[in-house]
Symmetry: D2
Subunit: 508 residues, 4 copies
C-alpha cells in the first residue's frame, strides 16, 4: 500500500499500433472510496479524461457507427453470439495484434507448451475483469489452453482495444467490453460475465476489485463454489485486506501486486526507462546537465534517479525515511528538502505515494520553464488544484503538456495534469505485462489446485517458489543460463535444488 505503484497504458490497434492514453482517474478514485455516490462518480467522464482520450491516435473504428454494442446483433463465424464487442468484423486486425504480442510473451507461450499434456486448469471456470488488450488476450488464450473456460469484462471504460475484443469473441471467448462504455454499460458487461444460465465461475481474476465487489453485492452465494480470487491492483488488494480485516472475505485471495517480480521489476526497471520516455515524448528536453529533484527514493524513485544520473542530469532526492535517505546518499545523490533546491531545478518528479508533496508554495518558487511531473501512484502528489486560480493562465501546448503561466510571465510545464506520467505519456514495456500476466496465470493455477486447507479465507502473497518460477520463465528471453546446485551444494546450503532459494524476508 505504501509502495509506489505504477499502472500501464496499452498499445496496439490494427495496422498502425498506437499509444492509448487513458485517464487513470477511475483507478485513482477507487483508491480512496467514499461511501456515497462512488459508483455514479466513478464513471463520469471528466474534462481531462475526455481530453486525453481524444488525443489517442487513430483507430480503425474511429469512423465507426455510433450504435451501442448492446443494441447490435452480432455473431462470430461459428454462430455464437455469447459476447458483446464493438464490431466482430475487426477480429482479423485484432488477431494480428495478438500474434505480435505472443512473440513478446514467451513465458505464457512456454506455459501453454508445458500444459500440452496436463491441463492444470481443467474444469476451471474463470471470470475475469481486466484491461482488454493484446497482452490480456494472450493471457486469456493461455488460460484456455491450460483447460479453463473464461468469461471476461473490462476493468476500465476506456482501455479496451475493440479489435482485440473482437478477435477474442471470434475465437469463442465470451467477451463483454468496448472502448467508451458508459458506467451503466460497465456494470452490465460485468453482470453478463457472471449471470449466466448453467455456468458458474469457480475462479475470479480481478483488477481493481469491481468484479469482486459486484459478486459480493449481487451474487454472494456464488462464493460457495469459488476457489479463490487473484487480484492485481493496489486498489483491489487494499479492498481485499479491508474485507479480510472485517472478517468478510469468504474465499482465499492472492495478492499478486506485492510479488517480488512485480515490485522489483515493474517499479525499478520499468520506471528507469519510462521516466526518460515520458519526459522526451512530452517535452523533447535534453537530459544532460539538467538539475532534477526526485521526491521519494523507493523503487520508483531509485529507477528515475538511476536513469537521469546515467543521462547526465544532476539529481537531488527528498525522502522522509532515513533508510531510503541513506541509500540515496550512498548512491551518490544529495539528500535535500524540496525547499532547498526548488528555485534552481529544471525538473521536479514526485514518486512518493503521498499527497501534496509539491504545493502551490513550491510551484510559486520554481524557476521559469521548470517541468513538473508525477511518477507516483495517483494524482495527489502535486497539488494541481492549487493552480486553478484566476491569476494563473493555463495553456495546453501539446497533448498532456500544459503551460501554467504566472502573472509575471513565468511558465511552469505541467505534464499529464499531475496524473501518472508513465501511464499517460509513455508506454509500458511488454516485459512487465508479461511478468504480471504470468504471475496471474500461476496464481490461478495455485489457488485452483491447492489441496484443501492450504489456503484459508485470507489474502496471500504468491509462494516464493512461484515468484521464482515466473522469473525463470523470463530468463530464456535474455538467453540467460541458470546454474543448478549440485546435490552436495544443496545439502550444504540446506536447500531444495529446485528452490525456493531464499527465506521469505530476503530483500533482493
Amino acid at each position: 500500500m505504501l509502495g509506489n505503484k505504477k499502472k500501464y497504458i496499452v498499445n496496439g490497434n490494427s495496422g498502425i499500433r498506437a499509444q492509448i492514453q487513458f485517464a487513470d482517474q477511475k483507478q485513482e478514485f477507487n483508491k480512496r472510496p467514499t461511501k456515497i455516490g462512488r459508483r455514479s462518480l466513478s464513471r463520469s467522464i471528466s474534462q481531462s479524461s475526455t481530453d486525453s482520450y481524444s488525443s489517442a491516435a487513430s483507430y480503425t473504428d474511429s469512423s465507426d457507427d455510433e450504435t451501442s454494442p448492446r443494441d447490435k446483433q452480432q455473431k462470430n463465424s461459428k454462430g455464437s453470439s455469447d459476447f458483446c464487442v464493438k464490431n466482430i468484423k475487426q477480429a482479423e486486425f485484432g488477431r494480428r495484434e495478438i500474434e505480435i504480442a505472443e512473440q513478446e510473451m514467451p513465458a505464457l507461450m512456454a506455459l501453454r507448451k508445458r500444459a500440452q499434456g496436463e491441463k492444470p486448469l481443467a474444469g476451471a471456470k474463470i471470470v475475469g475483469c481486466t484491461h482488454i488488450t493484446a497482452q490480456t488476450a494472450v493471457l486469456m488464450e493461455t488460460l484456455g489452453a491450460l483447460g479453463a473456460q473464461c468469461r471476461w469484462a473490462a476493468c476500465n471504460i476506456y482501455s479496451t482495444l475493440n479489435e482485440v475484443a473482437a478477435a477474442l469473441a471470434e475465437s469463442g471467448f465470451p467477451v463483454f467490453a468496448w472502448k467508451g462504455e458508459s458506467e451503466d454499460d460497465f456494470w452490465w458487461c460485468i453482470d453478463r460475465c457472471v449471470n449466466v444460465e448453467g455456468w458458474q465461475p469457480n475462479m475470479i481474476l480481478d483488477d481493481g476489485g469491481d468484479l469482486t465487489h459486484w459478486i459480493y453485492k449481487k451474487y454472494p452465494n456464488m462464493f460457495k463454489k469459488i476457489k479463490g480470487i487473484v487480484e492485481e491492483s493496489v486498489t483491489g488488494v487494499h479492498r481485499l485486506y479491508q474485507l479480510s480485516k472485517a472478517g468478510k472475505l469468504c474465499v482465499p485471495a492472492m495478492n499478486v501486486n506485492d510479488s517480488v517480480t512485480k515490485q522489483k521489476f515493474d517499479n525499478l526497471y520499468c520506471c528507469r526507462e519510462s521516466i526518460l520516455d515520458g519526459l522526451k515524448r512530452t517535452t523533447d528536453m535534453m537530459f544532460g546537465g539538467k538539475q532534477v529533484v526526485v521526491c521519494g527514493y523507493g523503487e520508483v524513485g531509485k529507477g528515475c534517479c538511476a536513469a537521469l544520473k546515467a543521462m547526465g542530469s544532476i539529481v537531488y532526492v527528498t525522502e522522509i525515511d532515513p533508510i531510503c535517505a541513506l541509500q540515496a546518499c550512498m548512491d551518490g545523490f544529495r539528500l535535500v528538502k524540496l525547499n532547498e533546491v526548488i528555485r534552481q531545478v529544471d525538473i521536479v518528479i514526485t514518486c512518493t505515494g503521498n499527497k501534496n508533496v509539491v504545493t502551490r508554495e513550491h510551484l510559486d518558487r520554481m524557476k521559469n520553464s521548470c517541468i513538473v511531473c508525477n511518477m507516483g501512484h495517483s494524482n495527489t502528489e502535486i497539488d494541481v488544484a492549487s493552480l486553478r486560480t484566476p491569476e494563473l493562465t493555463w495553456e495546453r501546448v501539446r497533448s498532456q503538456v500544459d503551460h501554467v503561466i504566472w502573472p509575471d510571465g513565468k511558465r511552469i510545464v505541467l505534464l499529464a495534469e499531475g496524473r501518472l506520467l508513465n501511464l499517460s505519456c509513455s508506454t509500458v514495456p511488454t516485459f512487465v505485462l508479461s511478468i504480471t500476466a504470468t504471475t496471474q496465470a500461476l496464481a490461478l493455477i495455485e489457488l485452483y489446485n491447492a489441496p484443501e486447507g492450504r489456503y484459508k479465507q485470507d489474502v496471500y502473497l504468491l509462494p516464493k517458489k512461484m515468484d521464482e518460477y515466473v522469473a525463470s520463465l523470463h530468463l530464456p528471453t535474455f538467453d540467460a543460463h541458470l546454474t543448478e546446485l549440485t546435490d552436495e551444494q544443496a545439502k550444504y546450503l540446506g536447500l531444495n535444488k529446485n528452490g525456493p532459494f531464499k527465506p521469505n524476508y530476503y530483500r533482493y
Copy 2:
C-alpha cells in the same frame, strides 16, 4: 568528413507542437552527387518520403487550400509583398512558436543583448538557405538585431514550418519557402532570394550547398561582393573542399560542421539521448537485458553505447580503427566482428559512416524480432536494397517501422527503412540547434568583420576562441560558473586570461 554526422528533425506547429518526419533523402542524395540528372532526381518524391511525410502530425494548414503559394497575392500587415509563404495569416501561430524557441536559445538572445550598442553585422546582406523552423527564425531575427539584412529560402522541400515562415514574413523578412515545394519551386525560391533589384548579398549562410551552387552557376559575379560563406552540413562542406581543391573557391568559407562544440556535443551527447528516444518511440522495447551490437565507436557510437549500457543493455562493438577499438575495450565493451554476435543480438545499430556494414548475409542470420537501425550519416550503412527481393515480405507495422518477413516466418524489425533513426524517429534537442545556430551567427560575424587578408579563398575551421565563446554562451543554461585565471596563473601557463585555453590539436 569521416566523422559521423547527424541531422535533425524539427518541431513545432501552432497550438499542438508535433513531430515532423521528413525524409533525409535529399541530403543523402547530395552526399554523393552523380554527374547527370542530379537536379531532377533530388526533388522527386519517392514512395518512402511521401510515406514518412504523410505520417507527420496534423498542422493548422492540413486543411489548407491547394493553391500554390506562387500563385497567391499576399501582403503582410505593413503592406510588403516581398515574400512567398503558404499563408501569411498563420503568422500569429508562428510567432508563438518562435517565442517558445527563444526561451530555449539563450545564447542567441544573449548575443542580441550584447549587440544593443554595437551592430557587428551592420551593413551585412545575408542570403540564407536552411531548414525554416522556429529555431532558424530565432537565428534570423538575431542576425537582424545584429544589423544584418536577410533574405531566406528553404534547403529542404519538406521541412519548412509554414506558420514560422509566415511569422517571419509578417515581421518583414523576405522569406520564400513552404512545405511541399516542387523541385521547380525550390530553385525559384532560391532565385527570388538572390536575384533582387537593388540588393546584392555580401554573405552566404548555406546548409547543403544548393544556394552556393546556384550563385556559382547563375550569378558568379556576385562573389565579387561576397565576403564569405558559412556552411553547416557535411555535404556542403564536402562540396566546398572540392571547390577549394579544384581552385574554384573564390571567397573564404567557414566550415562550422567540424567545430568542437558541434562534433563533441552534437554527436556524443545528443546521440546518447536520441538513440533511446528513437528506439522507444518506434518499438516501445525495454532496454534492460537486451543484447545490442553497435557498429562503429566514433562519437556517435560512443554516445549510443554509453546510453544503452546505462539502461542495462549488454553492448558489443565493432570497429575498424584499433585506437577506437581500444577505447571500446577500456570502456567495457566486448569488441567483436559482426559475424560473431549476429545470431544472438536483439538490436543492431550502425554508426560508421560506411556502406554495407550490415549485409543481406548478416540479415539472413539475425534472430527473429531483431531490430536493425542506422545512427550513422546516410542511408548506406544497411544494405536495405538487398531486402527488396521476392521471397521476403515487407509489412509496415507503424510509421517508420517495417517488419521484413523471411519465408520461415522470421521477422526483422527495420527502422526508418535504414535511414537515420535520429532524424526520422526522434527529435533533436533544442540545445544542439542552439549550439549550431550560435556557431553560425559567430561565423558570419567573424567572416564579415575579419580584417583584409585574415581569410583567403579557402575553407576554415572556426577559430578556437570562437568555439570557446559558443560554449561559454551556453553555460548560463546550466547555472555553471566558470573559474577565471589569476594573472599569476595565466602567466605560469603562458595563456591569455580570456583564452584560447588549449592548443589546436587538443582532443577534449
Copy 3:
C-alpha cells in the same frame, strides 16, 4: 544464513596506522561446528593463519618483550589492576587512535550527547566479546557514557590492537585481551570478564557466540539476571537460532546481523568499494577491458558487479536463483554458467555463500594469469584443497598472493588462499563499523529497557524503528536533510510522523 556475510579487518596502531591481516579461520571454523574437538581445534594456529599474521605491518609492540601478559603485574595510573593487556604503557598511543576513530563515528558521539541527561544504560552490566579495535573502544566508551559498566574480552586471538586495549585499561575498563593469545589465554580472558567477585553481568554483547557459549557451559545460573544477548555475526546468530530451536535459549537475543542497515549497506555498498581495493592492493591490475565472472548476484555480488562494470570491466554473472538471475539480466550482465566463460575470463570472483563453486575442473580450464578470489562468506567457495596436488607448484609472490603453476607453465593467481578477499586484502570502511556499532548500542538499550514481556526467549530482529534511527544518526555525515511528514500527510499515509515508515516486509 544464506546472505553473504563479510567481516572486517582493522586498522590502526601508533604513529603509522597499518593494515592487519588476520585469518578468518576461526570464524569459518565456528560456522559449521563439529561435535567433537571443536574447542581444541578452534584455537589452533594453522600454517596459513600464521602466515597472514606475520605479514601484518610493524607495530609498536613488535619489539616487545615475550612475557605473557598473564604473568605481568600492571596497574593503570589510578592504581587499578583489574585488566590484562600487553603493555599498559602503550595507552597514550591507543588513545590517539581512539580519538581519530571518534571523528569517524559521529553516530555514537551523537548518542553520547543525547545521553547526557538520561542514562539509558544506567545499571547495565555488560560483558562483551568482540574484536578490540579503536572503533570498539568508541563503542565501549559510549556504553559507559550511557551509564553501563563493561568488562571486555577479544573474540579473536589475533585482532586485538594492544595500544587500544591499553588505552581502555588506562581509562578504567577491565579489558582482557592481547594480540597473539593462545587458545588457553582466549578462554582465560573470557572467564576473567564474567567470573568476578561481586559483579554479575546483566547484558551480553557477543561476536561469534563464544562468550555466550562459555556462560552457558560454566555459569548457566548467570542467565537469571541477564536481560538479553546482542549478537553480531552470522555464526553467532546461527548458534542462537539453533539454541532457540532446541528450546534452550533462556533469554531474549537480538540478531543485529540481519538488520536492514547492516545487510544493505555493509554488503552492497562496502563490497562495491572493497572488491576494487582488494584486487588493486594484491595485483595492481587494471580493471578496464577485463573480463570478469562474478558467481552469485546477492548483495555482495551486486556490489562487485556494479563496481567492476563502472570501471570498464566486462562482467558475467552466474546464479542459481532465477529472481536474482533476472535482476542480473536487467542490470546488464550476461547470465552464464561458469563453464561457458571459464576459458576466457581474466578474473573469477565468488560471492555465493556456497561451497565448491569453483572446482579443480574449472581451475584446470582457466587461462594463464587468471585471478581467482572469494568475496563470499567463508573459505569454502573455491576448492583450494584440490590445488594442493604434487603436479602443481605454489609460488608465493606477495603477501596474500599465490601463483599456482600448472605443468605446462600456466599460472593461476589465487588471492588470500581462497579466504575472504575483503577481510584479508582490503580495509573495512569506518562507515560500516559505525553502523554496526551503533546498531549494537541501540540493541543493548532496547533489550535493557524493554518492558517485561516485550521480548521472550527468542531471537529477534531489531525493530524497524531502530533500524531507521541508526540510519538517521548517519545522515549528518552526508549533510543530508530529511523531509518531515506534515500531519495531513502522515494521516493520509496512515503513518506515525516519526516512523516506522515501511511495513516489515519492505525490501528497500
Copy 4:
C-alpha cells in the same frame, strides 16, 4: 604541454613484489629549471623523499652492504664487467620479475616475434636513460631482439630496481644504475653509457632530457651520428621544443608523450583507476556519499570524476575553459567556483596543471577532515608552502598522509604533501607501461629506418599509423577482434585498408 601529465611508480622485487614510492621531486624540479644550482639541487634528498623512500617495502638488498657500487668489482657469468649495479648476484631474482612482466606486455613480445626474420634495429646503437624496472627490462630486451645494441642509465636516483638491473647486466646489457644514487653517481652513470671506447650511440631514448642534456653539453659531436631522439616525458618534450625554438635541435626528435594512446589511455583510463586506489591506500575512506570537488576537467579530471561518480560520490567540477566546462555539465557535474563549495566538500582533487589552484584561503575554509590531494602534473597545484606556518601543526599519521591541524583543532588531511597522488600513493597499471614502452620501441624503429629527409631537425609526433599500430598490438590482451574494411568500403571511404583511419585532427 598543457595536458595533465602523470608519471608512475613501479613494482617488483624478488620474492615479494612491493610498492615503491619514490619522490617525483626530480621530475618536478626539472619542469621549471632555474639557471643556477639546478644540478646540485636536483639530487639533494629532501626530508620528504627520504621518508617515502623508507616506507618502501622490504627488499632483498635491504640488508645489503653499504659499499658504493662504483667501488665494487663485479663480473657477470660471461666474464663481462661492463656494467655497474648494486649486486650482480641478485640477477636471478630480477630475471623472475622480468619474466612476470613479460606476461603482461604482450605487445612487446609480439614485436619480438615479428622481428624474428627482419631486424628493424640491426645496427642501431641505443643509449637510454629511463626508470629501470622490470617493464623497462622487457623493452630493452625487445630492442635487443630487434637488432639493437643498448647501454642504459637510470633517469631517477631512487627508482632503479637493483635486481632487475642485475638481471640485465647478467644477460649482457651494460647497465649503470642502482637505487639511491648520489647526484654525482647519477651523472657518472650517464657518462659511462655514452663515453665508451669504440662505441658511439646513434639513437637516444630519454625520459626527462638529462641524457640529451649531457650529450649536448659534453659530447656535442656525437649528434653527427645520431639519427634521432625519442623522449617520453612532459619535461623532456618541453626542453626539446625549447631547443627547437632556439634553433639548437640538431637531430629529429619524436615526442611520444603526446601520442593518442598515451594521452587518451594513460590520462583518462589510468586516472580513473588510480584516483580510487590512491585515496583508498592512504585513507581507507568510503567513497559513497562523499562530496568531492575536482579542479580541472581535462583527461585526468574526466577520469577522476567518472570513477568517483561511479562509486557514489557527489562530484563538483571547476574549470577555466568553457568547452571543458560544458562537457562537465553534459556529463552531469555541477560546474562551480572552488569558493562556492569549499566549505562543504569532503575531498579536494586538483587536476589542472596550474599553480596555486588550492590556496591557503581555501584551506582555511575547508571543513574538518577534508582530504586534499593532487592528480595534476607537478607539486604546484596546492599551495603547500602556505601551510608551513607556526600556527599550524603537522602530524604524519601514515606514510604519505599528513594531518595539518588548525589552532581550533580542525584537521586537513594532506596526501603526498601535495605531490602527485598517483605517483606517490598508487601503482601504475602495467597496461600503461606497455603502451608507453611499445610506443618508444616503434618511435625508435621509425626514426632509425626513416628515409633521408622524412624527418628534419624538429620535434615530431608519432605518425598516426604507428599510434594505430600500438593500439592494435594491445587488442589481443582483450581478446578483441578488429573488423577489416572490404575493398569496396575502403574505396567508398577513400581509405587505405590498413589505415590510417582518421584525419590528424580527429579528437577520439
